[in-house]
Amino acid sequence: MRRKLPVDRAIPAHQFDDLEQQREAATFGAWVFLATEILIFGALFAGYSAYRAWYTHDFELASGKLNILIGGINTIVLLTSSLTMALGVHAAHVGRQRALVWLLASTAALGTLFMVFKAVEYYDDYRKQLVPGLAFDPAEWSEPGRVQLFLIFYYVMTGLHAVHLTIAIGIMVWMIVLARKGRFGPDYYNPVEVSGLYWHFVDVIWIFLLPLLYLIGTHSILDLHF
């Protein structure tokens, strides 16, 4: 019912004393959800750490084969999307409706660009015989089993991240639809703020995936290609 009202007459849901309490409850709920997300990815990080410690050398060799150029560019793309997201929450907060729609659209577009680059990178991995079970030559490696283990971690971790980013892009489209209807304003923009928290979380996961997957081995300038 509250959401049907013009934003300048926003009233809190009946269980809250005021809009501020409602806003704090919404962000706290989002943080609790993100705490569970830390543990979902945490299990993968723990498994990765255990085997990286056991097979350090083989993990470094395999890591050196990944496309660091696309990985690096994608990091910039995702960080930029986090900037537009933060500016979008700011626009909602100060009631700039048109800026809000454009910033949310830029965020979704940058997320999509990340996915396109990731697809290009997976294809490059395929051409470089780095896909266990599909395109992988055991004769190239002294310890093919360990290298395949690293690659499986690479696909599962980047894959789970991509699933999260896909959901985040969907949420962003939803927020654009609501923003165009004028549902957000200085008194009520919790959905934008909470979607932003999820978006930034997906960015934080990638911030850790970059060094763990791409940067543990020494790279050569000769590896740089798109």
Binding site: T27, E37, L39, G42, S82, Y214, H219
Partner: protein, 96 residues
């Protein structure tokens, strides 16, 4: 509306720092550091994550209860990592 409005200049500054740190961490991967790569990479990643969480995610400006949620998440992550790795890291000890 009592939530503090954070000036966009703050976001631009944080963004510049994040991009700078990304170039730094990728640049370092071309330097032959051997096993130090992981430690250096994770240190830079932690600084970047902290910047995103404190400023972009408003942890610095929001309710103190949010610290409890992320603190609990990281505490349980610590248990997950410590107990798992305590097993895997010590399995080889009998060979010494």
């Amino acid at each position: 509306m009592t939530a503090r409005v954070i000036p966009p200049a703050t976001y631009y500054t944080v963004f510049a720092a994040l991009i700078g740190l990304t170039f730094l961490t990728v640049g370092i991967s071309f330097v032959p550091l051997g096993e130090m790569h992981t430690a250096v990479g994770l240190t830079i990643a932690s600084i970047k994550a902290l910047l995103v969480i404190l400023f972009f995610m408003h942890l610095l400006y929001g309710s103190k209860a949010n610290w409890l949620a992320i603190g609990a998440g990281l505490f349980w992550l610590g248990i997950l990592l410590a107990l798992t790795l305590a097993d895997y890291f010590t399995r080889h000890w009998w060979t010494y």
